[in-house]
Structure formats: structure tokens, C-alpha cells
């Protein structure tokens, strides 16, 4: 098992290297650079040319790549070209935890809603509640994120006043436990908004997986042995039904880290998604490349975790 994990982690190195080349090539292939969008009739274009030269944007690409990858390996992601030379690492770390928390809340919401409903629907197929869940599933998938977010704000925040609508914290003067609850309070609406589509998907998956497993021979055997329905469900059905869900979650992990541009925007929740989007629009190469690499790492790690969890859920799966 450990050998397997170490081997997988070692494979990360060449994969990340390949990823870095692709990321760099794509970033540089996009037309324009950070200074093309800065049009100010009061600023002599010469000034921008000097900045380009100073930032090394006029160097040959292999040289630029070398400089970038070498400092990245040393843990230095460079400085943002747009945020007036602020270190990329600072910009990312300021938002990283926000993104993680929001992702976890969304995931939590997804799991507590999707899995029970999925199971219920599978056990009582074609009941009115199953139909309702199916309807909700389509609703969740179909409604655009920003629209649902705005609805949630309008209804729960402005009309009912239950939740704050914007940001991650009420003010600069909350601290301690109060801060924890305040932050949690701020995360609920964006968390639900972000988790909605996932909830719908997982619910459908869960339903069909459980139905599938319930119809299989070993369940019939278990039932024939006189096992209670409860035991059949928890001991046999769930374990097997969860395997594909875990695969999905492995991917989901990376996706959640990469942030949710639209949810972040509607709720003004500063996270990595918005940072990445802004970086792309402004051609802020250091930010784009650093984030793309980080997202890559998380997707790889997510998949690795999924593989490891397989062996926990399904003892038949063994790695060596």
C-alpha cells in the first residue's frame, strides 16, 4: 500500500513537468500580454515597453520558461504583474483557505442531501417523493448558478434577513469563536449554491447505483439468509454503491479547489476562482501558471485519495 502511494507520488513529478510545459505554452500562446490592456493616453507606451523588458517578457520563450520553472521549483511563484508586484504566493494564500472552506461546506451539503435522498429514491422507486427528487435533480442541474445565488440572496438574505449576502465575515472586529460562527454563517448561502449542481448529480448517481446493487444476486442471497433490510442496506448495498461515487469525488476535490468563479462573484466571496479568471483576462502569467499547477496537483491528489479509499470501502481491492 505504502509502496503504491509512493510510486503514485513519484509519477506526479513527470506529470507535473509535462503540465507545466503545457500551461506555460498555453499562457504564452494567448494574444496580448499584461500591458496590452493598460491603455492610458497619459502614459507613454515606452513606459510599458520598459516594464515588459524589466519583467523579461521580451526574452525568448525557453529562457522565460527556464526562469519560471526554476524559481517555481524553489517555491517562488514570482510576482503578479497586475497587482503591482505583489507576490503570487501571498495572493493565493489569502484566498486559499476561503476556497477550501467553501468547497468543504458545499461538499458537506452535497453529501448530507444527495446520499440519503438517493438511497430513499432507490428503495422506493416511483414513489411521489422519488419523482419529486428527480424533479429537484433536474432543477438543480438546469438552474444557472448565478441565478440560484441571486435568488438565495434575495429570498434568504434581503427578504428574510437570515444570512449575510456578501463576503466572508461581518467586520474587522469579530474574533475568536464569534469569528468562527460568523464565517460559517457567511458560508451557508454560497455553500448551498455551489453544492447544488453536485447534489443533483450525486443524487441521481446514488439512486441508480443503489437500485443496481439492490437487484444483484448477493443482495438476494443476503436477504435469503434472513438479514434485516437495514443490515442489507448498510452492510452490503452502500459499500458497493459508494465506489463510483468515490471516483466522482476524487475529481470533485480538484474541481472544488479550482474555485467557483460565478458563486464567488455573486456572493463576493474572495476565492481562487475569481483570482484565476482575473489572471487569465489580464494575462497575469505568474498567477495563471501558478494556479494551473496548483489545480493540477490537487486533481492528482484527489485521484490518489479516491484510489486509496477504494481499498477502504471495498476490501477486494488491494494495492501492492
Amino acid at each position: 500500500m505504502y509502496k503504491y502511494i509512493i510510486r503514485r507520488i513519484l509519477i506526479f513529478v513527470p506529470m507535473l513537468f509535462a503540465l507545466s510545459v503545457v500551461v506555460f505554452a498555453l499562457a504564452k500562446a494567448a494574444p496580448g500580454d499584461p500591458f496590452t490592456t493598460m491603455l492610458d493616453p497619459n502614459v507613454d507606451p515606452e513606459v510599458y515597453e520598459e516594464r515588459r523588458e524589466a519583467e523579461g517578457l521580451n526574452d525568448p520563450l525557453p529562457v522565460q520558461y527556464y526562469h519560471w520553472i526554476w524559481s517555481t521549483v524553489q517555491g517562488d511563484f514570482g510576482e503578479s504583474l497586475i497587482y503591482n508586484g505583489r507576490p503570487v504566493l501571498d495572493l493565493i494564500s489569502a484566498r486559499f483557505l476561503n476556497t477550501i472552506y467553501l468547497g468543504l461546506v458545499a461538499l458537506f451539503f452535497t453529501i448530507i442531501v444527495a446520499i440519503p435522498i438517493g438511497i430513499y429514491s432507490a428503495r422506493n422507486p416511483y414513489s411521489w417523493l422519488d419523482y419529486f427528487a428527480t424533479g429537484f435533480g433536474f432543477f438543480g442541474l438546469a438552474i444557472p448558478n448565478f441565478f440560484f445565488g441571486l435568488l438565495a440572496i434575495y429570498f434568504f438574505s434581503i427578504k428574510m434577513g437570515w444570512f449575510p449576502s456578501q463576503g466572508t465575515i461581518s467586520g474587522t472586529d469579530v474574533a475568536g469563536m464569534q469569528e468562527f460562527f460568523d464565517r460559517l454563517h457567511h458560508m451557508i448561502l454560497p455553500g448551498i449554491t455551489l453544492g447544488l449542481a453536485g447534489t443533483a448529480t450525486y443524487m441521481r448517481y446514488m439512486r441508480s447505483e443503489v437500485l443496481d446493487v439492490l437487484g444483484s444476486d448477493y443482495i438476494r442471497t443476503a436477504k435469503a439468509k434472513g438479514m434485516t433490510n437495514r443490515n442489507v442496506l448498510y452492510k452490503h448495498t452502500l459499500r458497493n454503491a459508494l465506489i463510483p461515487i468515490i471516483t466522482l469525488m476524487g475529481f470533485e476535490f480538484g474541481v472544488l479547489i479550482s474555485g467557483a468563479v460565478i458563486t464567488e462573484r455573486v456572493f463576493n466571496y474572495p476565492g481562487l476562482g475569481t483570482l484565476f479568471l482575473q489572471g487569465v483576462i489580464n494575462r497575469d502569467y505568474p498567477i495563471v501558471m501558478a494556479l494551473a499547477l496548483i489545480f493540477g496537483v490537487f486533481i492528482l491528489v484527489g485521484n490518489l485519495l479516491a484510489d486509496i479509499f477504494y481499498s477502504v470501502v471495498d476490501p477486494r481491492i488491494r494495492y501492492d
Binding site: 493616453p41 524589466a54 497586475i82 503591482n84 507576490p87 430513499y120 441571486l150 440572496i153 434575495y154 463576503g167
Partner: protein, 614 residues
């Protein structure tokens, strides 16, 4: 099992509820107009309070005396990038904070005249090569140090520093006309002669040549020497005194004391403000998504929304209907245009960045002046203002901001008239020669105009197909391309403008500075931003004449020259000016003493007060 069922039911009813809510109020939510500040930065210097506005009447509740105390919450739709240093900041959101915390020697008033701020009076020498300022005495920085002439010298010296541009600074226009700049920036001397401190409260700016508008060049916001003097210029942008709330030091009426980055920015009263203690205790900027701002205005959670985007024109009526909200509307400093690509550069020139009019290749598709005028007649500009801006804007015909003394209405107007347009095209020989329904060139060749436009500004995006329709109505075959993303777009029309891809018409907006109406930066033949590549020697002649000393010391002389230039522009038409948008400000009626400048909502915030202060 039963229990679980009930939980489920609760969750599901909740969503059912939402579905119902969805039907009832979806009308309110307009997708926000994307802010497009990146391409249209102006040189707003975040000038705020002038000292001589004592006649401020505190809004319309004249019976109420201003009261001290109270707090205010402002909203901006995007978080500032985070550089709170006047010499390095670059965008309007940062300016929203700096306008409260920092000041300059001079500010501007409602008619854009320069008025005293940190300097109480000034004198120019005879040929306007030097201007001497007498500073306010007893002005204190937020940390208690005294503000002196040395701070002014230090600020300009830093901008002239050899390392300034490399560190990310772009404001060198303020120092280039000063004596000794070249030597200093080249590192040949340690002594910057452009700005000198004559004594503790007297400072003189020395210009290389007689200067038409010396006050403009001395209007840059001042930074504290005692904070920055030991920090190398290259480290200033990343220094805490630039980045961190509580460390940013200015002379302004409010202190930037606290922040939750990208969410809240807190300004607290500067009790020792030299121009009188501000009334308000605290002003908090909250970053709020555009689509939510109006609702929060209604609930009173935010008190005002102003620059740079204000209230979207489409929401004007709704917000005006709120009982607790006052609206204010004024013309923006700038305009949207549809440019004619008159000339292209050669590929070699574009690659090397050379701008040499001798090498330019004329674009035959729009070379005929009469054709350009016909196109101007064919575009329904009042329709754009009505339809896209809901009437909150104006049609303009001259490329100088309307607020300036230099702006003139007295130019060809091109009132919407498709018949005139068609007739003019007929006269110019652009008729349908091959019977395919589209006009052809006088030589009988196919005539297609390629219209390019960028994404970003939603209103501008929506104007493109309308313009296409207008032109097709009079038989012009317009090829409306896909909107491209702004960086790519600028490469196509400006950086690599070598006919590949072919662009005949382009949409763009400019934000103008409030300091001086000189159109050099945009319309000088060799200016990089002269994207039309308009090559009319007469224009350059007039633009230069407008700055020629000593005649140009007289404003009336400049006025006359610029009127002539605007006429030339409107006749030769390197671009059709489409519209100037209005800025729509909204604020809670509890806020009193608001007195916006043409270029900024924030003016004399130390005189703002709230009528419900305890």
C-alpha cells in the same frame, strides 16, 4: 425511517418554495454590466477636498446643522487590487480609498479650475517655466509628523527615480517636463532639480520649457517622505506602508485604518485634519457584487454607490423609486466611439513598434471623407442612447470631454438621417453595381466593411449589431466579426494593425483625464493610441498650436484653437463619436453634504454628515 422522511420533506419544501420565489421576482435581476476599467483608465489623481468650499450647504436640509458622528457604508462592485500608494496605484477602486486619505498641492473645482489644497497660494514666473507654491502650515500626516516642502520634493523625486518604472510606476508624465529629469532618470546625477524646497513651506517646480498648464503637473498626490525615504524605490510597491491598512499614511480627512482584504475597507476620522475635523466617525467600503448593490441600497445596508460604475442605467428607475435613496447623475469623462481604420502599418513596423506615417498603407474602404460622413449620418446615435443607456447619456460630436472649457458644440452634428447618408454614398459613387443588394466601390468592386469590437463592456457589445443594422439599412455590407476578448482585440487593432485581420471599423471607449483638454495622447498622428492612424497634418498643427507658448497662456487662445481642431475632427471624422455615458450615483438620504466634482463623487468628505447621527 419516519424521521428521515420528515427531514427530507423539509428540505424539499424549502426548494419548492424557492421555485415559487423564482417566478415572482426574477424581473429584478439584470446581469451586471461588466466593468471595463482596465482599458479605460484615466489619470484621475484622486484629488479630493479643496479648502475653499465653505459655502457648502449640506444638502437640501438647510435647517439642519451638520452633526458630528455616525457611520457610512459605501459599495464598490470590485475589490481594489491593493496598492494604496498614490505613486503606484493604477485603478479607480484604489482611488476610492486614496481619495479619502491622500491629498495634493492643488485640487479642482466644479468647473475644473485648479484650487488650493495643500498649497494655499502660488505664483508662476513670467514665462511660466517655474511655479512656486506656498504650503499650508501645520498640516500633519496621519502619524503626527508635519507635512513640509520636503515631502513634495520627495514625491516627485521618487517618480523621477531611475528605478520607478521598473518598480511598476507609470506616472512619469508628471516629471518628464521638469528640469533635470533626463539626467536624474539616467542616473547621471543624484540631485533632482525639477522640484526644489525653498524653505519649509515653499516649493518650486522648474519646467524645461514654458508650460501651458503648470498646475496640472503639480497636482500629483503627495506621499510622506519620513515613511518612504529609507525604502528603495523597487521595494515601495510591496512595502507595508503601501499595502497594509493602518500603515498607509496620508494627510487626508480619513485614515485607512483597517480592512478585510477584498471585502471591507475601513476609513476612520482623522481628528487632526488640517481643514477641520470631519463629521463622520467612520466610512466603510464594502465590496458588493453589482447585481446585489441595488437591493442593499434599498435595505439601507449600504449608503452610497458611486465611482467608477455607479448604478447601471437599466436600474435607474427602480432605484429612483426607493424612498430612502437620492440619485445624482452627471456626464462621464469620456466617450465611446466607432473608429475608422484609416491607415494600416506595415507588418515590419508593427512588429518593431515603429510609428512612421510615411510607411502607412491607406485603407481604401474608408478613405473617402464623404463616405465616413455618410456613415455618421446612418448611425442612429440617439437610438443607442435611448435603447442601450435608457436615456442616461448624451450624443457628442467632438472628442474633448464636455466638461472642459475647450469643448464646443459648434461642429457638424450628423443628425441621424439614413436618406442623407444614402444620398451621400450615391454621390461618392458607392452604388450597387452588380445588383447583389449591397453597395460597391466606385470602381465596381465588392465593398465590405469589417466591424470589430471587444467583449467586456456589455453596452458596447450590444451596440455592435445595432450599428451593423443601421449601416446595412443604407446598403453597406458590414461584416460583423465575433467579439474578441480585450487583450486579443487590442493586438488586432492597435499593436499589430497590419491589415491582418482586416479591420475597417472598431469600437472603443476612452476615459479622459480631468486635468487638461490637450488631445495629444489620443489623436496626435504619431500617438500609439491614435488607433485610426489618422494622418492629417493640419490636426497636428492645431494640437501643437494649442500648447504653443506664450500665446497658449491665454485660455481664450487655446479655446479658439481647440474649437478649430474639433471642427477639423468632426469634418474629417477619424471616428464617429457614439455617446458619452452618464455616471449615476445613488446615496441614502441620511447622507448630507454631498457635493460631487465632475470627475468624482468624493469631494470634501470631511463635510459629509448623516442626519441620524447620535
Amino acid at each position: 425511517m419516519n424521521k428521515k422522511f420528515w427531514y427530507l420533506l423539509i428540505v424539499l419544501t424549502l426548494f419548492a418554495f424557492l421555485l415559487v420565489a423564482c417566478n415572482s421576482d426574477s424581473g429584478n435581476e439584470e446581469p451586471s454590466d461588466e466593468d471595463d476599467q482596465t482599458e479605460e483608465p484615466s489619470d484621475e489623481d484622486s484629488d479630493d477636498g479643496g479648502e475653499d468650499s465653505g459655502e457648502d450647504d449640506g444638502g437640501e436640509t438647510a435647517s439642519d446643522e451638520p452633526k458630528s458622528g455616525g457611520e457610512l457604508v459605501g459599495a464598490m462592485d470590485t475589490a481594489p487590487a491593493g496598492v494604496y500608494n498614490p505613486i503606484f496605484y493604477s485603478e479607480a477602486y484604489e482611488a476610492n480609498i486614496l481619495s479619502f486619505t491622500h491629498e495634493a498641492l492643488v485640487s479642482q473645482n466644479g468647473s475644473l479650475e485648479f484650487i488650493p489644497q495643500l498649497a494655499k497660494e502660488w505664483k508662476t514666473n513670467e514665462d511660466q517655466t517655474a511655479i512656486t507654491f506656498q504650503l499650508e502650515e501645520g498640516v500633519k500626516w496621519h502619524d503626527g509628523e508635519e507635512f513640509t516642502a520636503e515631502d513634495v520634493v520627495f514625491t516627485y523625486q521618487t517618480i523621477a527615480d531611475p528605478g520607478y518604472t521598473e518598480a511598476g510606476g507609470i506616472r512619469t508624465e508628471y516629471v518628464t517636463p521638469l528640469v533635470g529629469y533626463e539626467e536624474y532618470v539616467a542616473g547621471e546625477t543624484d540631485e533632482f532639480q525639477g522640484v526644489t524646497a525653498d524653505d519649509k513651506y515653499t516649493v518650486t517646480f522648474h519646467f524645461k520649457e514654458p508650460n501651458v498648464n503648470p498646475l496640472y503637473y503639480s497636482s500629483f498626490t503627495i506621499i510622506p517622505k519620513h515613511i518612504f525615504e529609507d525604502i528603495p524605490v523597487s521595494e515601495m510597491p510591496s512595502h507595508p506602508a503601501t499595502l497594509d491598512a493602518g500603515e498607509v499614511i496620508g494627510t487626508g480627512p480619513f485614515v485607512f485604518s483597517d480592512m478585510v482584504e477584498r471585502e471591507q475597507y475601513v476609513l476612520t476620522r482623522n481628528d487632526d485634519y488640517w481643514n477641520g475635523k470631519p463629521y463622520l466617525d467612520k466610512i466603510t467600503w464594502k465590496v458588493v457584487d453589482q447585481s446585489v448593490i441595488t437591493s442593499l441600497l434599498e435595505t439601507g445596508e449600504i449608503d452610497f454607490v458611486a465611482d467608477p460604475n455607479g448604478v447601471p442605467a437599466a436600474d435607474y428607475d427602480m432605484v429612483a423609486g426607493y424612498d430612502n435613496i437620492e440619485m445624482m447623475e452627471q456626464t462621464d469623462f469620456g466617450y465611446q466611439l466607432m473608429g475608422f481604420k484609416l491607415n494600416y502599418r506595415t507588418t515590419e513596423d508593427a512588429e518593431s513598434g515603429t510609428i512612421n506615417p510615411d510607411n502607412w498603407i491607406e485603407n481604401p474602404d474608408v478613405a473617402d471623407q464623404q463616405v465616413r460622413q455618410a456613415i455618421a449620418y446612418a448611425i442612429n446615435r440617439p437610438g443607442l442612447v435611448q435603447g442601450l443607456l435608457h436615456g442616461h447619456g448624451s450624443v457628442i460630436n467632438a472628442p474633448i470631454a464636455q466638461q472642459f472649457w475647450a469643448y464646443t458644440e459648434d461642429v457638424p452634428q450628423y443628425e441621424y438621417n439614413p436618406d442623407t447618408a444614402a444620398q451621400m454614398l450615391d454621390e461618392a459613387g458607392y452604388v450597387d453595381a452588380d445588383g447583389d443588394g449591397w453597395r460597391d466601390t466606385p470602381e465596381g468592386e465588392e465593398w465590405i466593411l469589417d466591424l470589430a469590437y471587444p467583449t467586456g463592456n456589455k453596452i458596447r457589445e450590444r451596440s455592435a449589431p445595432i450599428i451593423e443594422e443601421n449601416l446595412e439599412e443604407i446598403g453597406i455590407n458590414v461584416n460583423l466579426g465575433q467579439a474578441s476578448e480585450f487583450s486579443a482585440y487590442i493586438e488586432d487593432i492597435m499593436t499589430n494593425d497590419d491589415q491582418n485581420p482586416e479591420v475597417d471599423l472598431y469600437l472603443l471607449g476612452w476615459s479622459l483625464g480631468s486635468g487638461d483638454p490637450d488631445p495629444n495622447g489620443l489623436w496626435n498622428i504619431e500617438a500609439a493610441y491614435n488607433i485610426s492612424r489618422w494622418n492629417n497634418p493640419k490636426s497636428d498643427e492645431l494640437i501643437n498650436k494649442g500648447l504653443k507658448t506664450p500665446e497658449a497662456f491665454e485660455q481664450s487662445f487655446r479655446e479658439q484653437v481647440y474649437a478649430e481642431w474639433q471642427n477639423l475632427y468632426a469634418t474629417d471624422l477619424p471616428a464617429v463619436l457614439l455617446y458619452a455615458q452618464n455616471k449615476i450615483y445613488a446615496y441614502n438620504e441620511r447622507l448630507q453634504g454631498v457635493d460631487p466634482l465632475p470627475y468624482s463623487f468624493i469631494n470634501n468628505p470631511h463635510l459629509w454628515w448623516v442626519n441620524d447621527a447620535q
